[in-house]
C-alpha cells in the first residue's frame, strides 16, 4: 500500500466522521432522522463502538488466528465493573476507570496464560468455558452486585455532564469515534510492529517460528491481552453511549458469536473489513427492527414478514450466504471489485 | 517404449504441498500384469505419487486406468474402479477387530476370504483381536489382506516392508508375488532385494520427475547406475 494511501485514508475517514454531527442532512431509509439528530447520532455512535470492538476481535481471530468464543467476557468486564463501581460502590469516575484499566490487563493476562496452553478448538472451548463462568457469575447475582437477569442501572452522578443527556449525544458520538480511532491505531501498530510480524508468522506456521527460537506463547499472550483490554474499553464506551446500564446480554456466547459474524462479514484479517462489518451489522440490527414495523414489510405475506421482522434472522442468513459465496467477506469483495 | 497395452498411464502429474512443488510433471506407464516398482530417494515424492493417483491430494495432470480418466472422479469412485491400496503407514483401524477391518473393505458380493486366510493364516486366528494391539508385521498383513479382499485388477502398495524384521520381509515378498499373479502391482519400495525378487519393471523418480524407466533386471544389474540414481549400494537395508 502506498505511503500516501496508508496515512491519508484513515485520516480522511476520521475527518468525515468527525464532521457528521454538524450536518443537518437526511438519509432516508438508512436513518430515521437527519444526521445531526440525537437519535441518528446515538445510532452512529453505537455502530462506531461495535466497529471498534469487532476490530479487537479481528486482532485475535483474523490476525493472530486465535478463535476465541469468550471475547464477550472482556467486553462484559468493562460494562459490569464500571457499572458496579459507579452505582453500587459509588466511586468517582477517575478511580473507576483506573481500576477497570488495571483489571482489564490482569484478567486477560491470567486467563490468557491459562487458555493459551492449548490451541485450536481446545482454545476456543476453554475461552468459551471462562466466558460461561462469567455469565453464570452475573446471573447468580452475588451480593446483589450484578443485578442478575434484570441488569443493573447506571448511576449518572459520577459521569461528567458533558456526556449525559440527549443534547450531548454528539459528545458521546465523538467519544465513540475516538475509541474506534484508538483501536484502529493500536491494532495497526500491533500488526506492523516486530511482535506483530512474529504473530503473522505464527498464524502461518507456528512450528517454523519455534524453530527460530522464538516462543509463540508470549506473542499470542500479548495479542490476547491487547485485544481483551481494548474490548474492555469498548465495554466502558458502550455503557456511556447506550446509557441504560449493564445487561446480561453482553455476557452470552451469542454476543461473542455476533462479533465473529461481524468480522467474517467484513472480512477477517483485513482491519477495515472488521470495522465495516461491525458498523454494518449494528446498523442493520438496529434499523431492520424498525423497518420491519414499516408498512412495506407488513404488507408482505406473513410467511415473509414474520422472519424478516427478526433482524437476527436476516443477519444470520446473510452471514451463511456470505460464507458460501464470498468467503473473503465484504472487504474481499471490495478488493475484487477494485481490481 | 509406450506399449499400447499399458494398464495405467500417468501423464504430467503435478502436486503442490504447501510451498513445495513436490511432483513436477511425473509421467510413466504401468504395463498390465506383474509388478512395477516405483523407486527413488527418501522424500522424492513416491508416496505422494500414489496418493495423487488416488486423488487423496489435490493434483493436476492425467491418470488413466484402462483408458478411463480417473482425475475427474472422487477418491471412492476411483477405488471402486478396482484399485486396492496398501498405504505407507498401514492405516489399519485400531479400534476395530481384524475381522472388522477386513469387513469394512468388502466392496462387492464375493470377498476372497479363503485367499486372504490362506496367505495370512494368522489373521484368521486373530480375527477378534483389536487391530491396535497387533504387531507392526501383523498390521501389515491386515493392510495387504484388505487390498486383496476384492478382486482388484490393480494394487498400489507403499513400502510394505518398512520397519519389518527380515523373516517378515520374506513373507511380505511372497505375498506380493502371489498378489502379482492376480493383479497388476505398482510397488513403492526402498528394499532393493525385494524389488529384485518381485518386480519386472522399474520407474525411478528424482527431483519431482521420472528420470528412468525400464526393465528391473537391467537397472539392478548395474550397481553404478543404481548408486547414481538412488544413492545406495544396491542391497537390502
Amino acid at each position: 500500500m502506498s505511503r500516501v494511501r496508508y496515512a491519508l485514508v484513515p485520516v480522511a475517514l476520521l475527518a468525515v466522521f468527525a464532521l457528521l454531527p454538524q450536518l443537518s442532512v437526511d438519509v432516508p431509509v438508512v436513518f430515521g432522522g437527519p444526521l445531526d439528530s440525537p437519535g441518528t447520532l446515538g445510532l452512529l455512535a453505537l455502530c462506531l463502538v461495535f466497529a471498534g470492538v469487532a476490530l479487537t476481535y479481528d486482532l485475535l481471530f483474523g490476525f493472530t488466528g486465535l478463535l476465541s468464543f469468550g471475547h464477550a467476557l472482556y467486553f462484559a468486564l468493562g460494562v459490569y465493573l464500571t457499572t458496579i463501581a459507579l452505582t453500587k460502590w459509588e466511586w468517582g469516575l477517575v478511580p473507576t476507570l483506573l481500576v477497570v484499566a488495571v483489571v482489564a490487563i490482569l484478567v486477560p493476562l491470567l486467563l490468557g496464560a491459562i487458555s493459551l496452553r492449548v490451541g485450536g478448538i481446545a482454545f476456543a472451548m476453554v475461552t468459551l468455558a471462562f466466558a460461561q463462568a462469567g455469565q453464570v457469575l452475573v446471573q447468580k447475582n452475588p451480593r446483589s452486585l450484578t443485578g442478575g437477569e434484570e441488569g443493573l442501572g447506571l448511576n449518572y452522578d459520577a459521569i461528567p455532564d458533558a456526556l449525559v443527556g440527549v443534547l450531548n449525544t454528539k459528545h458521546l458520538y465523538w467519544l465513540a469515534l475516538a475509541y474506534t480511532a484508538v483501536v484502529f491505531l493500536a491494532v495497526r501498530w500491533a500488526v506492523n510492529s516486530s511482535p506483530g510480524r512474529v504473530l503473522q508468522a505464527i498464524r502461518e506456521n507456528e512450528q517454523r517460528v519455534e524453530v527460530i527460537g522464538l516462543q509463540p506463547f508470549r506473542f499470542k499472550l500479548l495479542a490476547f491481552v491487547l485485544a481483551s483490554f481494548l474490548a474492555t474499553a469498548g465495554g466502558v464506551v458502550w455503557l456511556l453511549v447506550l446509557g441504560t446500564g449493564a445487561s446480561p446480554q453482553v455476557t452470552t456466547a451469542n454476543f461473542t458469536l455476533t462479533l465473529l459474524v461481524m468480522v467474517v462479514i467484513g472480512g477477517a484479517g483485513t482491519r477495515y473489513g472488521a470495522l465495516l462489518g461491525g458498523f454494518l451489522y449494528t446498523l442493520l440490527d438496529q434499523r431492520l427492527g424498525s423497518l420491519a414495523g414499516s408498512t412495506r414489510i407488513e404488507d408482505l405475506p406473513t410467511v415473509l414478514s414474520t422472519p424478516l421482522s427478526e433482524p437476527l434472522f436476516i443477519l444470520g442468513t446473510l452471514f451463511v450466504l456470505l460464507v458460501f459465496f464470498v468467503p473473503g467477506g465484504l472487504a474481499g469483495l471490495g478488493r475484487r471489485v477494485l481490481r | 517404449m509406450s506399449a499400447p497395452e499399458a494398464l495405467i498411464r500417468v501423464d504430467d502429474l503435478h502436486v503442490h504441498l504447501g510451498q513445495s512443488h513436490i511432483l513436477q510433471g511425473v509421467s510413466f506407464e504401468v504395463p498390465e500384469g506383474g509388478v512395477t516398482a516405483l523407486l527413488g530417494r527418501n522424500g522424492v515424492g513416491k508416496t505422494t505419487t500414489l496418493r495423487a493417483m488416488l486423488g487423496l491430494v489435490p493434483r493436476r495432470g492425467s491418470v488413466t486406468l484402462a483408458g478411463e480418466e480417473l482425475t475427474r472422479l472422487p477418491t471412492h469412485a476411483i477405488v471402486r474402479r478396482g484399485i486396492g491400496y496398501v498405504p505407507e503407514d498401514r492405516d489399519v483401524f485400531a479400534g476395530l477387530t481384524v475381522e472388522e477391518n477386513l469387513r469394512v473393505a468388502e466392496r462387492n458380493g464375493s470377498p476372497r476370504y479363503e485367499l486372504v486366510h490362506e496367505l495370512f493364516p494368522e489373521l484368521k486366528a486373530r480375527a477378534s483381536q483389536r487391530a491396535g494391539t497387533l504387531s507392526g508385521g501383523q498390521q501389515q498383513m491386515v493392510a495387504i489382506a484388505r487390498a486383496l479382499l476384492n478382486d482388484n485388477p490393480v494394487l498400489l502398495v507403499d513400502e510394505p516392508t518398512k520397519g519389518l524384521a527380515p523373516l517378515l520381509v520374506t513373507e511380505v515378498a511372497a505375498a506380493l508375488e502371489r498378489a502379482a499373479e492376480l493383479a497388476t502391482v505398482l510397488l513403492v519400495e526402498q528394499n532393493l532385494a525385494v524389488v529384485a525378487r518381485v518386480a519386472q519393471q522399474v520407474v525411478v523418480v528424482d527431483g519431482g520427475r521420472v528420470v528412468h524407466a525400464g526393465a528391473a533386471a537391467e537397472l539392478l544389474g548395474d550397481p553404478a547406475r543404481v548408486r547414481s540414481l538412488l544413492g545406495v549400494h544396491g542391497s537390502s537395508h
Partner: protein
C-alpha cells in the same frame, strides 16, 4: 439419605438429557470434524415441533405428547439431514467455513423460532402421571426423571448396537478414526455424514422433548442453554465415543446437581470450570483420532 437419592436421580435425569444432545455432537465432530453450533437449534426446533403438533391433536396429554414427540423427532432428523446436504456437504474441504455456517444457522434458526412463536415460554403437554412422584428409598422422585433416564438408556443401547452390528455403524467407527482411509477403501463417506447428522438431529430433538417435560415449558433459548453443557460433556467424554459421552453426561449431571444443592447454586459454575480443567490437562482429547 432421601435427599441424596433425589439428587442422584435428578442428576441422572439431567445427564440423560445431556447425553442425548451430546451424542449427536460427538459423532458429528468425531466423524466429520464439524463443530455443529446449530445443534442447539435442532433441539429447540424439535421441542417446538413437538409442542406445535401437540396443539393440533386431540386426546389427553399423554396422546398429545406422544404424537408430538414422534413428529418432533422426525422434524429433528429431517432438518438435520437437510442442513447437512445443503450447507455442510458443499463445504466439504473447508472446515472453518463449515463451523461458521453452523454459527450463522444457529443465529438464524433461533431468530426464526422466536419470530414465529415469540419469546414467551409455551406450556408443554405433560400427562399427570409424569408429574406425579414415586417414592424411592424415602425420596419422592417425579416420574419424568425415570422416563428421561429410560429414554437415554434406550438411545445409548440403540446407538451402540447400531455402531457395533450394522455396516453403516462399522463405516462410522472406522471413519471416526481415519476418514481418508475409509474413502481409500472405496466407500462414499458422505452418505455416512448425512446419516450421522440425521441421527444427531433426532437425538437432539428427543432431548428437546424431554427438556420440555422436565421444565414443563419450551422457550427459544432452550437449545443454546443446553448446548453449552453438551459441549462440556463431549469434550470431557471424548469426541466420537458414545460410551465416553454417556459416562461424561452422567458425571456432569450428577456434579451439577450435587454442587448446586450443597453450595446454593454454584453447580453451573463448577461444571464450566471442570471443562476448563479437563481441557488443560488433556487437550488431545479434542483432536479427532487421526488427522482428516
Amino acid at each position: 439419605m432421601s435427599t441424596f437419592v433425589l439428587l442422584t436421580i435428578t442428576g441422572l435425569g439431567l445427564g440423560a438429557m445431556y447425553f442425548l444432545i451430546a451424542s449427536g455432537l460427538s459423532l458429528i465432530y468425531g466423524l466429520m470434524g464439524v463443530l455443529n453450533f446449530a445443534h442447539g437449534a435442532l433441539l429447540t426446533a424439535g421441542a417446538y415441533a413437538t409442542w406445535w403438533m401437540s396443539t393440533h391433536v386431540g386426546g389427553g396429554p399423554g396422546t398429545k405428547l406422544l404424537a408430538g414427540a414422534v413428529f418432533g423427532i422426525a422434524v429433528g432428523a429431517a432438518l438435520a439431514a437437510l442442513i447437512e446436504l445443503v450447507l455442510i456437504r458443499p463445504l466439504y474441504r473447508r472446515p472453518v467455513e463449515q463451523v461458521l455456517v453452523t454459527v450463522g444457522l444457529a443465529l438464524a434458526l433461533g431468530a426464526l423460532i422466536e419470530a414465529i412463536w415469540g419469546f414467551d415460554a409455551r406450556p408443554f403437554p405433560v400427562p399427570a402421571w409424569l408429574i406425579d412422584t414415586t417414592s424411592v428409598l424415602g425420596a419422592s422422585i417425579p416420574n419424568d426423571r425415570f422416563v428421561e433416564i429410560a429414554a437415554a438408556a434406550l438411545v445409548l443401547a440403540g446407538l451402540t448396537g447400531f455402531l457395533r452390528f450394522t455396516r453403516y455403524g462399522l463405516i462410522i467407527r472406522a471413519g471416526v478414526e481415519n476418514r481418508a482411509m475409509v474413502t481409500a477403501l472405496g466407500i462414499d463417506v458422505r452418505r455416512a455424514f448425512t446419516l450421522v447428522f440425521a441421527l444427531g438431529g433426532a437425538a437432539a430433538a428427543l432431548a428437546g422433548v424431554l427438556s420440555g417435560v422436565y421444565y414443563g415449558v419450551v422457550d427459544p433459548t432452550r437449545g443454546t442453554s443446553l448446548l453449552i453443557f453438551a459441549f462440556i460433556v463431549v469434550v470431557i467424554g471424548g469426541f466420537g465415543s458414545i460410551g465416553g459421552t454417556a459416562v461424561a453426561a452422567v458425571a456432569v449431571g450428577l456434579l451439577q446437581q450435587y454442587t448446586n444443592y450443597y453450595s446454593s447454586g454454584l453447580g453451573d459454575l463448577a461444571v464450566v470450570l471442570l471443562l476448563a480443567i479437563v481441557l488443560l490437562l488433556r487437550p488431545e482429547g479434542l483432536s479427532p483420532k487421526v488427522a482428516h
